[in-house]
């Protein structure tokens, strides 16, 4: 391994335009959630603990707390999404916020308005929190860098870069089933290259001290120097799944076949799809996860997706609690106080 590269060779170079503390206020409180990178294990644990307190609440008949009362949350989606947008919306509503959904892929940016202009216009409506999804990596950072000081940005997925709340809800799900991360072997299977979910999961798993994180897929779907992310790469799913405690399947996009990354969906399923026979190679109590929406018969067999080891629907449920936790921590409201009301 070569020595880590540092930014500038030159003395006297000022710090970059965006210090790593960008996600935090000067007092060290979480201001934006853009990526898992730079969070402390303590903060992640705090988010997960906070989410626990919301899980029970979500099952009750009255599902609201007033933690975000009077706040306005805007779901700013430059890319289509159903599940993520809906769970963010529910999370904000259960915290009593006013919620607006804006679907920009069919709106003004198509007419040539720049992202910054769109943002300034929306900000002029006194929004407190933007929940942003965008097709370009770095979009959430860009927006966070340009919003007014009182506005927070929550990254709901930017390009191939990050999807931190998805990773957090996955950690929440794993913790509920497995407890201690240090003894776990976790395998992420499929299209790592294009996956923001995988990048954030890998960072979160390593942050929480997971025993071993593996990625499994053909070389065309693993990014260059993937091992630098702190994972062990496998091309063969049988070796890769051996004795793992958690299997995370990723969605395979149809267009991957057109760009020569794979010969066919059929071959992918043959070689990397999760079926019952392969699941048997994992630890006897291994759980199966998928960020959704799953392509049945492409990356996962229906019998596994709907089987007893699948926690895919739990992930969706926990998604609301975890997003509530993140939003309430960002607004800085005391959860105990809120839950007591």
């Amino acid at each position: 391994m070569t020595e880590p590269e540092t930014a500038a060779t030159a003395a006297g170079r000022p710090s970059g335009p965006m210090p790593p503390s960008m996600q935090f206020t000067p007092e060290g409180r979480l201001r934006h959630l853009l990526t898992i990178e730079g969070l402390s294990p303590e903060l992640v644990t705090e988010i997960l603990d906070t989410a626990e307190s919301f899980v029970g609440m979500n099952a009750q008949t009255v599902k609201k707390v007033p933690l975000l009362r009077g706040k306005t949350v805007m779901n700013l989606f430059f890319e289509a999404s159903t599940r993520t947008r809906t769970t963010f919306e529910l999370a904000a509503k259960r915290l009593s916020a006013d919620v607006l959904n804006i679907n920009i892929s069919t709106s003004s940016t198509v007419k040539g308005e720049s992202l910054l202009d769109t943002l300034r216009n929306l900000q002029a409506m006194y929004v407190d929190m933007f929940v942003v999804r965008h097709a370009d990596s770095g979009a959430a950072h860009f927006i966070a860098r340009h919003v007014a000081p009182h506005v927070s940005v929550l990254n709901a997925g930017d390009g191939r870069h990050a999807h931190p709340t998805q990773a957090l809800l996955d950690m929440f799900t794993i913790r509920r089933h497995k407890g201690d991360f240090s003894r776990l072997k976790v395998a992420i299977v499929g299209d790592i290259l294009h996956s923001r979910v995988a990048r954030s999961q890998i960072q979160a798993l390593n942050l929480l001290g997971t025993g071993e994180v593996r990625v499994i897929g053909p070389k065309t779907l693993l990014p260059a120097h993937v091992e630098d992310l702190g994972v062990r790469p496998f091309h063969d799913i049988r070796t890769g799944l051996k004795d793992v405690d958690v299997i995370i399947m990723l969605r395979l996009q149809r267009e991957r076949m057109d760009s020569g990354l794979l010969p066919s969906e059929h071959e992918f399923f043959q070689l990397w799809g999760l079926n019952e026979e392969r699941l048997a190679l994992a630890a006897p109590d291994a759980i199966v996860m998928h960020p959704g929406p799953a392509n049945r018969g492409v990356e996962i067999d229906s019998r596994v997706a709907d089987g007893p080891r699948s926690v895919i629907l739990e992930q969706v449920t926990y998604g609301i609690a975890v997003r509530m936790a993140v939003m309430s921590l960002i607004v800085g409201a005391s959860v105990n106080q809120g839950a007591a009301q």
Binding site: T6, A11, G12, G16, D136, F142, R199, H225, V226
Partner: protein, 428 residues
């Protein structure tokens, strides 16, 4: 106007000169060194004690944005920036809007440059009509109008066959062809080096092989056709090694690198810093070191600015959506002097890479202070600190990652044809 530059340290690699002496200018030319010509009485003396006296810099790649992108910059604004940075001759690529593929475009650029501050501007002509890569341009007419070479800029040529024809046709007219070694299919939609940082940030990458495979093709065609090819903006150590080997085999190829590639790496893209979005992309530290070696050993004969001024909005978007390139005229000399400071190469060789080296590639009698040549020269105070800052930046494009870096060495005077076209105030 008779001018005496007194007691400066004259460094002229073309003459193998490095000594403190007087330099005499008359009629726009350097007329003598050391001792005045008979009857020489200066109209003006410039005290150059403690200063370097260097040939004016020759920059092989500066986009001036005219015609077509005047919202970014103009020939007037950018030649002024060049003068402040000690550049007296610059070459502009043909990818303006419309592209430089007709004599009228060349004449327009010459005319605008003539009305500007006195920095000489030499356009490259388009290698193919409209830079579309499908049909040869009127190269001979472009050359007659003043194009100093042909280039396809960053646009692809349809097929190796057409590229071969273009090279052969250029050779028939004794034209140097400036080519960027980029395989566009391999580069794809990439915007950063395909490596560790791209993997972490999830940015689409441009692999090293996008450069090396293109070099393989270009070097093979150079051997096949005997064309004079100049390879523009090398970015990989392996690419530099391929070029060195080809030169050792006797191929007529030369190469350049942009100054920022000798300092920045992929790590500078960390945090989605759009100011470091450049093409070819910033690569690894090993690449940077390999490029530095190739510059030191002379396999890369020229360091250029690859100046690309942008309006602020061009960089105000998520990283992949920003426009590539940095405003670099004003940091070409400071960065080159920094190579000397960091022990990469001696001063004479560093100066050669920005004066006589590029002049030789152009086949022009520039980049020297030998008597009888045009008096394009600069004075540099080597000890004076320089921290580029927006408020004393001349280029219309403020898109530089080097703003607020601290350099040592500052141009104090720039002369073009014996005329002082820039003087830096004693207090900045």
């Amino acid at each position: 106007m008779r001018l005496l530059i007194e007691q400066g340290r004259v460094v002229d690699p073309a003459q193998g000169l490095d000594r403190v002496t007087d330099l005499f200018i008359q009629g726009g030319e350097v007329v003598a060194l050391d001792t005045p010509p008979q009857g020489f009485t200066p109209d003006r003396r410039i005290d150059a004690r403690g200063h370097l006296v260097l040939p004016g810099l020759v920059d092989l790649a500066a986009r001036l944005r005219e015609p077509g992108d005047e919202n970014k910059a103009t020939i007037a604004s950018e030649t002024r920036a060049a003068a402040s940075g000690g550049i007296t001759t610059l070459v502009c690529p043909p990818d303006t809007h419309p592209p430089v593929d007709s004599p009228a475009q060349i004449e327009l650029i010459h005319r605008r440059a003539k009305q500007a501050c006195g920095v000489r501007v030499h356009p490259l002509g388009a290698l193919t009509a409209g830079l579309q890569g499908r049909q040869l341009s009127d190269m001979a007419a472009l050359k007659r109008a003043g194009a100093v070479g042909m280039s396809q800029a960053l646009h692809p040529v349809e097929s190796p066959m057409l590229l071969r024809r273009a090279l052969e046709y250029a050779t028939s007219h004794d034209i140097t062809v400036f080519l960027h070694p980029i395989d566009h299919a391999l580069a794809g939609a990439g915007c950063v080096h395909e490596g560790r940082v791209a993997t972490r940030l999830g940015l689409p990458g441009i692999p090293e092989a996008a450069e090396t495979t293109a070099l393989g093709l270009l070097l093979a065609l150079a051997a096949q056709t005997g064309a004079r090819i100049h390879l523009c903006r090398l970015s990989t150590a392996r690419g530099a090694a391929l070029v060195a080997r080809a030169a050792a085999d006797g191929l007529a190829v030369t190469a350049d690198v942009c100054a920022h590639q000798l300092f920045l790496t992929e790590a500078d893209v960390e945090d989605f810093n759009a100011l470091c979005h450049v093409l070819p992309p910033l690569r690894t530290r090993a690449d940077r070191d390999g490029l530095r070696r190739a510059v030191a050993e002379g396999h890369i004969q020229a360091i250029c600015s690859d100046h690309q001024p942008h309006e602020a909005d061009a960089k105000l978007a998520p990283f992949p959506a920003t426009e590539a390139g940095l405003s670099a005229l004003e940091t070409l000399l400071p960065l080159t002097l920094r190579l000397v400071e960091e022990g990469v190469l001696p001063l004479t060789e560093a100066v050669r890479r920005i004066t006589r080296g590029p002049a030789d590639i152009l086949g022009m009698p520039l980049g020297t202070l030998s008597p009888g040549t045009r008096a394009d020269l600069i004075l540099v105070d080597p000890q004076r600190p320089y921290a580029p800052a927006a408020e004393r930046w001349y280029s219309a494009g403020h898109n530089s990652p080097f703003l607020h870096w601290r350099f040592r060495g500052r141009v104090t005077h720039t002369l073009s044809g014996g005329r002082v076209i820039h003087e830096t105030a004693a207090r900045e």
